[in-house]
Every structure is written in structure tokens, then in C-alpha cells.
Symmetry: C2
Subunit: 207 residues, 2 copies
């Protein structure tokens, strides 16, 4: 994905091939959010007017860069996890033994397939947390971009939730499903945080 052209990647996303699909799209939205956090930090750090917030924004910049890299890796992981699910479904199922091995392989692949969007949801929640942290000290000329970052990360979060749920639906292991749901519930609270960031930015702009 990183080395595809934007137009080519979107063509692939739009095509009949299953990957890239919704998982990569969610990761891309998270990456866009993280990149905008970096931009706002880069346009604030070093300006005397915002010196009091320099430390906070410098730390946020390091985290945003890290999260952007992780998001791009998650897009690749998503394609790999999806490939494993497809491969498991294609295993032989002629004998009882084969059937059992196939079922086990499918379940193991589904665990991996649910893990990628779960990590995407958690990453999106972290990007939203950064938007909230940098908002008080951001260069006012680009404060709207903090809202755009939060909106993009929120889309990643919402999309990742649906992607986790679709994988959980076929997962048999109740204990694992509960563990995934608990982590997902924790990440989802960031949705309201994103809305609060957008609302605060709009209020500031209206002044």
C-alpha cells in the first residue's frame, strides 16, 4: 500500500479483489488522521506564541508518526489475515479428520482476522486521544485540521468495530469473543471524545 500510487490503491480498493477492502480502508483513515496530527504539530512547534505547549506537541508528534507507520502495517496485516481465512476455508474436507483440521484452521484464522481490526480500533482511539491532547496548544491557523484528524480517526474506529463484529460472528470460542468485545468496548469510548474535539473546534471557529 505504501508504495502504490493513491490512484492505483483506490482502483484496487474499488475492484472485485477482496483485498484491499474495508480493513485497509479503516487503516488508511487512521493513517490520514495521524498524518494530520503530525501536520498540526509541525506547524506549531518552534513558534514562540505556542512555546508553552512545545513539549506536549513534540511528544504528540513522535506518537503520531509511530501510529501512522503502524496504521500502514495494519493495512498489510489485514490482507494477510484475510488470506489465511480464505486458505483455511479451501482446506480438504473429505474425511472426518480433514473436517476437524479444517474447522480448527478456520477458527484460528478468524482469531487473527478479528485481531487486525481490533488493533485498528485501538490505534484509532489513540489518534483521537492525540487530537484531544494537542487541541489546547495547536496553532490557531490549523485548528480545523485537528477536527479533521479526529473525524478521520473516528471513521477508522467505527469501521474497525464493524470489521471486528463481522469476524466475531463466525468465531466459536466464547471466551475469546468476550475478551475481544471487552477490548473493543474500551476503544469505542473514544468515539465520543472525537465528537467533543470536533464540537470544540467548531465553537472556537465560530467565535
Amino acid at each position: 500500500m505504501r508504495n502504490d500510487t493513491v490512484g492505483g490503491w483506490l482502483d484496487e480498493l474499488a475492484s472485485e479483489s477482496s483485498t484491499p477492502g474495508g480493513g485497509a480502508a479503516a487503516a488508511m483513515n487512521a493513517a490520514v488522521g495521524a498524518a494530520l496530527i503530525s501536520m498540526v504539530c509541525n506547524l506549531t512547534i518552534g513558534r514562540p506564541k505556542y512555546a508553552a505547549h512545545e513539549k506536549e506537541l513534540s511528544a504528540a508528534l513522535v506518537e503520531a508518526e509511530e501510529l501512522r507507520g503502524q496504521a500502514l502495517r495494519l493495512a498489510a496485516d489485514d490482507a494477510a489475515a484475510f488470506g489465511s481465512v480464505i486458505a483455511a476455508y479451501k482446506l480438504a474436507k473429505a474425511t472426518a479428520e480433514e473436517k476437524q483440521a479444517r474447522t480448527a484452521a478456520i477458527q484460528q484464522a478468524l482469531v487473527g482476522a478479528a485481531d487486525v481490526p481490533l488493533r485498528t480500533a485501538e490505534l484509532a482511539a489513540e489518534v483521537i486521544g492525540l487530537a484531544r491532547r494537542i487541541l489546547p496548544g495547536s496553532n490557531v491557523n490549523v485548528v480545523s485540521d485537528v477536527a479533521v484528524a479526529a473525524s478521520s480517526a473516528r471513521a477508522a474506529l467505527d469501521a474497525a468495530v464493524v470489521n471486528v463484529e463481522v469476524n466475531l460472528a463466525a468465531l466459536a470460542d466464547e471466551a475469546h469473543r468476550t475478551a475481544v468485545r471487552d477490548r473493543l468496548t474500551a476503544a469505542v469510548t473514544a468515539g465520543a471524545e472525537a465528537d467533543a474535539v470536533v464540537a470544540e473546534v467548531r465553537e472556537r471557529i465560530a467565535k
Copy 2:
């Protein structure tokens, strides 16, 4: 943007340069949403099980492809409109005449700068409308991607609203501001539509 690599474009977005910024990010979110609509259509059209919805999805595919192209053009238009605003602010302001000409140029540039996110908001609303239209007839194996498309387009809409408002704040012409606000208010109703699509998909997955 179309010919940049994904990694390179994100680097540019994250950098200190003002473009690409939040306007291009919103356009990208809309393009991702439109691409996923296309993917779902491509994975549904031609399958006997969904023959009853073939006409609807074929029409939606044509529209989604058109909207994706428009979204990429909006990202370019956003950079151009921003450039005009910067250029207008840099005009000479030594004499009263120059000051008057500069103020007029700034106001004209701001009209253009507000127009791009307004069109992005309207485009995002159209993508959300497509998600809603294809949902009943979409291949169930990729129904989660309809929700991801709606979430991504919703982020584009929310971001575009903030981007319009930040440009309107500096716009003096009250009549033009009202006209823009009216169009924006119409587009914003699609936000609830997007939420409804996501809710319906989650309900279907949980069954």
C-alpha cells in the same frame, strides 16, 4: 495526489507544508468511501442470487466511479484555492487603492476556498446516499464494507463542514455566507443517514 505514492502523500500531509491539508484529507475520505461502494457493487453484480438488485447496483457503480474521480479532483482544487488565498494576502497594501484591491482579492479567494469543502460535503452526502441505496441488494459477504464506506464518507462530510466554517468565518459577504450555509445544512442531513446505514449493517451482522 493521484500519482503520488500512498506513503509519499501521507508524508506530505504530515509535513509543515500547508497543502495537502484537511481539505485534501476530507476528499481522500470521500474517495475511500466511493471506492468501497464500487467494490461492493463489483462483488455483487453478475451473481444470480442478487439478480433482482442488478440494475440498482449497476447504476450505483457508475455513480460511485464518477464520485471517486470528482473527489480526487477536489483534493487538487483545494490546494489551488488555498494558494489563491495566500497569494491574495501577499498583495501590496501600501496605498489606499492597493488596500482596497487586496481586500477584494482576499474576499474573492475566500469564496473559492469555501466552495471546495462545500462541494466535498455535497459529494460525501452523495456517497452516503449510494451506501443507503445499495445496502438492501449488496452481497452479504461484503455488507460490512457498506458500513465502512458510509463511515468514511461521514468523516469526509464532518471534516468538510469544519473546513467550510473556517473559511466562512473570514468572509464578509453576508448573502454569500447565507447561501453557503443553506447548501451546507442540506448536505449535513446525510450524517444521520450514514449512522443509520452503520446501525443496520451491525444489526444484520449480529443476526
